[in-house]
Amino acid sequence: MTTWTAYGWIVTCATAAGVWAADYDPTRDPLVNPASLFESPPASADRIADEDWIIRHLRAEPASLNPILTSSGHELTVQELLFDEPVVLGPEFEWMLNPAMAEGYSEADDHLTAELRLKAGLRWQDGVPLTAEDVVFAWQMIRSEHVPAVRARAATEGVVDCRAVNPVTVRFRFREALPTNRWRIKFPILPRHVYERGLSEDPTLSRSDTHVEANRHPVGNGPYRLVDWAAGDRIVLERWADYAGPRPRFARVIFRIVPDGNTALLMFKRAELDEMMLTPQQFARDTRDDRFARVGVKGRADQATVYCIAWNMDGTNPFFGDVRVRQGMSHALNMPLILNTVYDGLFSRSRGLFPPSSWAFNGDIPLFDYDPTKAAALLDAAGWQVDSEDGWRYRNVVGPDGTQTRVKFAFTLGFAQESKTSPQLAAVFQQDLRRVGVDMKLQALEYLTLRGRVFTHEFQAVIWAWTAEPEPDDAWNLLHSAARSGGRNFVGYANPDVDALLEQGRRSFDPEVRRGIYRALAAKVYEDAPYTFLINAPSLWAFHKRIRGVHFSPMGPAGFYPGARAWWVPAGEELRGTR
């Protein structure tokens, strides 16, 4: 059959490309981080292609493009090109004013009020002037109980008042004098004249036909405007000619919605996508053929994403309340092997709470080494003894009514089934724990279900990840005992020392003092192991080779200012477009 012949041919090609080389060293791969990828644009505009299109990858279809309602990464990817915000995240995760929109920010001496000044003459894409009233309206909507603006509401916590002093000035009042207050006014804005319509009949901004239409075809103020959204297929943006900031470099930005990463890479190789995020396996192995080399290059940089295993300590299980058990688990995990096989040698081991890109990072924390003997000793010390009959560990647990029951050390590890690496990691960990006599069951859950379980504390252990906020005070929400309900302290962690450090850290105005506090906090938390910190995920991306001007922030190549707006193509290398 012809299929077989063709198939044999692929195998041969793949072999010739040396795909099975045992280990991969990204520093010796000529396609990784070529200088051209990071090249800054030339001074003269006619050396920059003006009519090219870029086709970007979206992992899922946005539910809405209303910037205060959205939350997922793929929604932000589209939205940041449609909407400008006065305060933005800079290239290195710093707080900065958007030069196209804002002119100044000043805080009063008591740090309780602040003023934000907008540029004069700003407009929405439909021509209506953009004023301080739009900022105030957005704040009101974010704080409204009716609007499901979950993420934005959490971000503006601590701002108690927001009003327009004049058309270009907004005044904020804060609840407390904190060094982190200026981060609290970083929120998206909304066109008031669009959303005010029908507000009385639909205060949620998400359920009337008017509002749904506004969320789907938004009136923005950013460099691009939406021209087409074909459900499940693609979203097409076009350059907004009247944009006040720097001229957008691509005539069109097309987002293709491709949920499957394998499919996306095949599309990339067919030049149907110009950029995409890669999995470690794709970065190290699937991109080493000629097909890829003909169209693409790869970018790799540190990123602020922390992977860990979260242990539920809220008392619903007899295992993880004991610090020795958590430490034992950390020692039992064969991290060297995992880094090599699951992550293809591309990821670095996490040193706790803060990623290396953070100013609060502590690189001196001693890591848990892979040592099954030590793990067994710690479990023994915690009272979990190996049963000589069946080889698993057991302990007598005293129930609330005083009765003793013999409990087997058997628990369930949940993980997101959409993830490519978590199931692999879980499978390795399962065998590791078996060797020390702990019976771990695996439960692959869809991400939504998993998140629901975590939020409602219905789990024993999960593989979990988050992207660290630029401000380390974010850890308060994660670890403070008061954040066990309402916050993100899903594991039910309570440690008075940690609480004290978190309180000190959020109140000091001296950066050096804060750095010392957060370094101590990171060391304390690593040792106490409410989470077993696994790895810091790097940004792994593929770009079409004609694309220049990429910069990797701690969040990846987009999602900050200027991010994707800075990408450009040299004149003469255009691939798409009509003229």
């Binding site: 396996q281 080889g391 879980a426 065998q431 060797r435």
Partner: protein, 347 residues
């Protein structure tokens, strides 16, 4: 006359070479599934360790046989979770290893190794032996195929026979039920249940497939009953004073079984395909269980760098389903030489 049916069917069936070949192949497959602890396992089949003779592999086989598990004594220390089998085998004076001396779940640092003498079909992304996983996957697929169709057969035969024999209101209700399930977008339902089940496993797959696949069987059974209940021998049996249940079970059912058997056979192949499809979407037997569908999906994700991983599950699914279909056709031809084609269900 009734008793003569089965041997006659068998005599006619035996003449079909393809059918016999498929039957032999499927029996072999079933043997692989049952014997998987001695075919692919880290544990040795027989081993003399510290002066004693152990049979860890054989114990594994016996444990999967119902009732035998009570008789078998655990082969400690080999059954202990933390026992180092490799070291024990190296220390032992005498050991017979399994044909494929790997467990389907044991990872190693040798990832995506190409087929070699050590790993016949190579290793996957976690360094697990593909041959071992394939052998253990056989059990999953057969369990799903046979289990689901046994359930479907039971439901279909009981409901169909009841409706056809009793007639009246029972017939109306059952016929409506059949139509309802037949018009149902069945894959939607299966998917819905699997997506929303708390901890999906083989049993769930068996049940959802079984409870949706019974309609063609019931329809056939009902038609056969309608045809047979007025036949001479049924009337004769009734005249001799046999009760309705006796007439049904002793006289009518055996005569209606042949076409039903054909449908059930084809259904086995279909059920195997559905399981693999569910696993493909990520909602079948959950990983790391070595199901063929799970292996296929993970191989597809690596097709750009390790295409050799695709062959084993592909071939396993294809050959199994093909054999089942051939078997079904042979049974049909043997049962009804005229040929009736209503049983081939599109996958």
């Amino acid at each position: 006359m009734l008793q003569a049916r089965a041997p006659r069917l068998w005599r006619r069936f035996r003449r079909r070479r393809l059918g016999m070949l498929s039957l032999a192949g499927l029996v072999l497959l079933a043997a692989v599934a049952v014997l998987r602890p001695v075919l692919a396992s880290r544990l040795p089949i027989v081993c003399r360790y510290e002066g004693r003779l152990y049979f860890p592999g054989l114990v594994g086989v016996l444990r999967s046989v119902p009732f035998a598990s009570a008789v078998v004594e655990e082969s400690r220390p080999f059954s202990l979770p933390s026992f180092d089998v490799e070291k024990a085998v190296a220390d032992s004076s005498f050991a017979v290893r399994a044909l494929i001396p790997y467990d389907p779940l044991d990872y190693s640092s040798e990832v995506r190794a190409r087929p070699s003498r050590q790993h016949w079909l190579g290793t996957d992304d976690l360094g697990r032996d593909v041959a071992a996983r394939l052998v253990h996957g056989t059990a999953v697929s057969l369990k799903v195929g046979l289990g689901a169709m046994a359930l479907a057969g039971l439901v279909g035969i009981v409901l169909g026979a009841w409706a056809g024999y009793a007639g009246g209101i029972v017939d109306v209700v059952v016929s409506r039920l059949i139509e309802l399930v037949m018009c149902f977008p069945v894959f939607f339902l299966i998917l819905a249940v699997m997506v929303w089940v708390e901890e999906p496993g083989v049993t769930h797959v068996v049940f959802v497939i079984g409870l949706t696949a019974w309609t063609p069987i019931a329809r056939l059974m009902r038609a056969e009953m309608l045809r047979l209940r007025g036949s001479e021998f049924a009337v004769a049996a009734r005249a001799l004073g046999a009760g309705p249940v006796r007439v049904l079970v002793r006289h009518l059912l055996p005569n209606a079984m042949a076409p039903v058997a054909v449908t059930i056979t084809f259904g086995v192949g279909h059920a195997i395909l559905i399981e693999a499809g569910l696993s493909w979407l990520g909602f079948g037997v959950p990983p790391p269980a070595p199901s063929w569908g799970v292996m296929l999906r993970s191989a597809y994700d690596q097709i750009q760098s390790a295409p050799f991983l695709v062959y084993p599950p592909c071939v396993a699914i294809f050959v199994t389903v093909l054999m089942v279909n051939w078997l079904g056709e042979a049974v049909r031809d043997a049962a009804d030489p005229r040929g009736e084609s209503e049983n081939l269900v599109p996958g």
